[in-house]
Symmetry: D2
Subunit: 391 residues, 4 copies
């Protein structure tokens, strides 16, 4: 079987080692076995089955960063996260897997880094077993980019906080058991924020409907409503008023995670488009042979290879704890904007078929568009980079 | 009520006269009355109710170009088509209306210009009454851009043609009663093509399923299959072998129709985005007041105003019968590419809400993407313009 | 002689009438006769000969808007300005002609609209005869975009104003006899500005060196220095404190003038590039026949045709006194940004020859770049458009 | 002294080692000492003084790849070339230094890799001493991109070849003593090409005038004319008919060299623009503080950082002999197109000053534009990448 261009290009990469590639295979097998057969149903139902998390935990692709003593994999090498995100993004079968990647890359770090021992004991085993599904809730109907605008309030009352307000666009929102929730415990825009873990079975907690999105149809995204929810003070992550710091600490990894997925998605999109245009004929020749097609794909391929070098560098740096917030912001917006453009350009090469949902490119078009928005919009990322340059 | 920017901009337009604006009102009323209440259902069902065509005919917004003797409106002023397309595109309630615009702008001309008297008598009354729904079928699974690649064959057998083959991506495909079908009656790439009107109740004619598209969910698009369909030779449009000429004659209007809709769609998209960013707050101020937002919208607004001047000029020229094929091609790709970009840029300004289908911008994102492809891809349009320049 | 694409495209234009086309011929002849033979020398010397203004006045292409009683042409139809700008831009022989167009379009209006009768009598005859060369000086070393930042001061002293300060980047700066100068007569950012006509032979007035620019080598651009220049109060244009209003009144025409020239320049650039690629061979065929070349030129040609419709509409509106400041701003930045891009893309099509100054495209590259800056930068234009949209 | 953004960014780079940084210092000193004081004169004269090559050789920054036995530096680590190119590009004082970099990176490899012992002995000492200035001549008036179109003929006549034809756009063309010349020795498009070293003092060899370019004013670029030039057969590089192979072998390094310089140039341009906008005031605040400025610079900075990762990877790979021709092509067009865009965008941020040649950005604008053309145009690079992808 001849090598694809991507396989050839991958040969010059140095970021991963043997163990990461083995892990990639594991992810691939898991996807084939559990996600592919259910993909369409999940999409129709708007979320995945809860057992998927358990299966993933069992297989070792969920919770592998949780210490072994709590039932996890005990690694803290981000490259496992990255190789998994990459695999899911390049050969997407169902965006239903996103909830698992999200848990690993974005939510679990809160439980690892901001918890005290008691909290670890309480939650990590369930998380590592896939029986406690997690989410992180910052965004509110009235504020997203501006975290200082958060209004969901948590008022101390004895051993509890009484939480009122609502969150929106929360990934894993329908399935989540534990929601890391950014709440206002004081009036200072930043120092008045705290992080509370809210258990879904607490009275007063309710979920809005599963939101009707352009894409990511197998991934549940919901509004969450808090009406006098009494949350034990023991559920506070870190100290009161440290919420903003907690978010700042974790957002870079969230952004790198999105960036790495976007970079890999672009590669997958191009790879499939190349196959398509080599097969599709028009005017008696493969569409691939028109100079416009050749230039388009050469250009997109180059664009992704250039980004690849940067992202791999970022992954390597992050796995050594050296990635700055501004580099993560830069990586996030650069790769996602590129991804949106590349999907758009590749779809064109499919002609009418590009608009048919049975072709993956059509779903890529649906799925890609949110990436420049969630995890922090391109505009906010440019603000971060710009400010780091003293502008 | 203060004027919107678009209303202000419209004041400098000179293409329409009083009667066109009255017609616009009629369309607007019709949409409010018949389309809005059913929009969601049609979308779920993937097509509109057949009565919509009859209602539209009755109201005078379908078939107005059919001569009065056959029950139509008897106008041949393309500006009525244009103003209707514009109205539907700027304030879209349901893409279900597209089937009607398509009939007026794209299909009916075949019945008006290529039919003999007998054919006119047979079909025009039903078309003008909205009881005969029409479609035009060129594209096949194996060929779209390249009309010379058409393989659906029509073999003369006495008074009939026996048609075999299949067509794909046919708009109005589920509802159509009469399908103007490009068939191969000879081996010469161009001179071997003919146009046959195939009646949907002819044995051997069948419809594939309604295709699952990224957008245009209320507009039916289907595969059509012909298995030994015996079509009366009397259904031939023009002479045998004149099919390519017939298509060439009608494609400019098809393209201008798409262009005019795209230009108007862009205007609507921007208008709504301006409203949104003026209301939405972030960091204590309207999103509209960030310089990036202001520049983005100023730039998009300018882009549409520049295109507006060109499109109005094209409409005026076409209504005088003076628009060239290359100008139509230029208008088509320019406005649709701009539309795709503008939707993309505006969606960004909505943040997470832009991805929610309850916001119109999300549907615009879904609907816009096909416009650079159907009616002739951007690449084919550039070929046409390029060749007209002697390149 | 076969028609060029541009000649074909021009046929659909409706803005000009017979008399404008005759005027265009006059300009063309003038350029051939007087500018072409001296072009290279002027470029080397960094400015044109003063006699050029006199010859231009004599021929009727300078000062044609000055009332006949003062020796001018007595027209107030901006289309003469436009057709002249267009002719100079499309078939550029020497940017030395720019000083004349600048006088007509940008400076003379100050002398026509803001002068009282005495001033008219004093200056218009010389201006109309080309013996008084004019300039307008707003920009200072410390402020350009922000007119409110002007610091050159004019302090009333009896019948005179004593002017101190300096101006920079003043077109016609070396040749000018009369400089319409924006000066500060009060502390209010806007209401503290006035316009004074400063005569170049007034003691204390001096010119800096002719600035070394990327392009426009035959057009003199200079710093002007005012050291206790005593200017008669009779040289005030309009009332004291009305300077800002005077500028606001004239900037739209300045911008439209630049826009119209940029649009026409783009057309000329493309026309010449098409000729080049049809002749130049590579890999055994004309460069024109590579699909990339065809698409590039088809796209650029389309872009200019779309802009053409808008600009012609603006010209027509301005000649009826109906063009708004924001439309002028939009036209200015849109066409100049397009021009810069088009020059850049066309240059590429010339290969190495595109970098050689004996090819016009190389000079276009040099000359084009300033157009998005002078007369108000693209950023300022977007501010103006954005604000007009309530953003 | 606070760190610049670029210095901060450089800290994550891993490609260079201590010795390369020392070499960079050496280059920097050399430039300050020899190039800066003469920069303006060289520019006026259109070429550098011959002594510059000797000085450079003496200092060890010319000919460092020549084996020590012939008087060179004896290194074959491309990172010395790269760090030198980077230094010259980031902090350009005079493009006059380009001739030296060109010799090191582009011409000398022909003398090292394709020469036999006798030729090495004959030429390398002079080259390493800077007394023999070199050039490589492929392009002809009639053919550049298409090497198979080369027509300069070399007809064997006894011990000599008789060369007729002409070359154009030859860098170092006025100063060169030895010109590696691609000549036609047979009719086969590729196998009929050979490389001959032509000594400038051979009868029949003449130089055209120094070409008048948009930029690179201190770098001589000339036409070379061969009229019955008798070149000893001993001057043949490699075997007859191996010319095309020789070129193919060396073009990747030529392209990487241009790419590395372009990447570094972009960084320098942005660095200077950041300084400018932080100082320049408009509307009472630094231009840097407008959101548009911040976003522009954040975006450009990100773009260069992403490219930086790729280029460093390419440099590292090339220094290990692992860079493919298609990667070099990709790097070449990506970085140069980016450079042209970045210069263009940064120039805008300077307002009118950006157009003044006393500002470096104005010269960057002049100099940058050729980079997407020489060493192989962007279009040819995309062909190479596209073909490597099987398109
Ligand atoms: C599918 C999906 C999943 C999500 N998952 C989660 C989740 O799990 N948890 C969670 O907490 N959130 C989640 N989000 C929310 C997401 O992070 C926010 O939507 C995003 O941060 C943007 O916030 P917003 O929607 O309020 O937009 P806004 O903040 O209202 O922004 C609107 C526009 O204004 C722009 N803007 C804002 N500030 C500035 C500025 N200073 N300068 C210039 N422009 C500016 C923005 O860039 C944007 O274009 C999700 C969203 C989606 C759609
Ligand atoms: C929603 C929808 C509605 C439609 N409605 C109708 C309808 O009512 N009737 C009907 O007949 N058809 C209809 N179509 C079909 C539509 O017109 C075709 O899809 C379109 O013309 C493109 O043809 P294709 O899909 O076969 O693409 P292809 O021709 O296979 O093109 C694939 C890609 O190759 C490119 N390409 C092709 N030739 C060249 C070239 N020479 N140089 C460079 N690039 C080239 C194309 O631009 C495209 O990017 C519809 C399609 C859709 C999706
Ligand atoms: C060849 C030439 C001829 C000229 N002729 C004349 C003439 O005859 N008379 C005359 O008076 N002037 C003339 N000018 C000056 C010209 O009009 C100014 O250069 C121009 O208006 C920009 O001003 P500036 O150079 O001070 O730039 P600045 O105002 O310093 O601008 C620097 C940058 O900041 C940006 N910027 C400024 N404000 C904002 C904002 N609010 N938001 C975002 N970005 C912003 C600008 O867009 C620009 O990119 C000429 C200039 C040149 C180069
Ligand atoms: C300052 C300078 C220094 C130089 N130094 C040297 C030197 O030292 N030695 C040397 O040998 N040469 C040198 N060159 C020449 C340079 O390498 C050539 O100019 C370049 O390779 C392009 O060749 P060309 O100018 O003949 O353009 P052409 O080959 O005529 O190309 C014209 C246009 O056609 C396009 N084109 C060509 N083929 C295709 C295709 N298949 N598909 C699509 N588009 C195509 C090109 O991309 C270009 O846009 C120099 C040039 C300059 C300007």
């Amino acid at each position: 079987m001849p090598q694809t261009s991507l396989q050839a290009a991958d040969r010059v990469r140095t970021v991963y080692e043997e163990e990461h590639e083995q892990f990639r295979e594991m992810v691939r097998d898991f996807v084939e076995r559990y996600a592919r057969p259910n993909a369409e149903r999940w999409e129709a139902e708007g979320k995945v089955d809860r057992w998927l998390f358990e299966k993933a935990a069992e297989t070792g692709i969920l919770g592998f960063t949780v210490p072994e003593e709590f039932g996890g994999g005990g690694t803290d090498d981000f490259r496992f996260n990255a190789v998994m995100g990459e695999e899911l993004a390049r050969n997407p079968v169902s965006d239903g897997m996103a909830g698992i990647a999200l848990s690993n890359d974005i939510v679990i770090p809160y439980f690892l880094e901001l918890t005290d021992d008691e909290q670890k004991r309480r939650w990590l085993p369930g998380i590592a077993a896939g029986t406690l599904i997690t989410a992180v809730a910052m965004t509110e109907p009235g504020t997203g980019s501006d975290l200082a605008g958060i209004r969901t309030s948590a008022v101390r009352d004895g051993d509890h906080y009484v939480v009122n307000g609502s969150k929106i666009f929360i990934s894993n929102g329908q399935n989540a058991d534990l929601v890391v929730t950014a709440v206002r415990t004081g009036s200072d825009p930043h120092k008045g924020l705290s992080l509370l873990v809210i258990e879904a079975d607490t009275p007063g907690f309710s979920r809005g409907r599963n939101l009707d999105k352009v894409g990511l149809h197998a991934q549940d995204t919901s509004e969450l409503v808090f009406e006098n929810v009494r949350v034990p003070a023991a559920n506070l992550l870190g100290a009161e008023g440290q919420g903003f710091l907690g978010l700042m600490r974790n957002l870079p990894q969230e952004r790198l995670s999105i960036a790495a997925a976007a970079a890999a998605s672009s590669e997958g999109v191009i790879e499939r488009a190349m196959t398509y245009v080599k097969e599709r004929q028009a005017f008696g020749r493969p569409v691939a042979t028109f100079q416009n097609t050749r230039f388009e794909l050469a250009d997109m391929f180059t664009a992704t290879q250039v980004s690849r070098a940067y992202i791999d560098q970022c992954i390597a740096r992050h796995s050594r704890g050296e990635l700055s917030a501004e580099d993560a912001a830069a990586a996030k917006y650069w790769t996602t904007e590129q991804y949106v453009q590349i999907v758009n350009r590749c779809l064109q090469l499919y002609g009418g078929y590009g608009y048919m949902r049975e072709y993956r490119i059509a779903r890529d078009y649906e799925d890609a568009r949110i990436t420049t928005i969630y995890g922090g919009t391109t505009e906010i990322m440019k603000e971060i980079v710009g400010r780091s340059l003293g502008l």
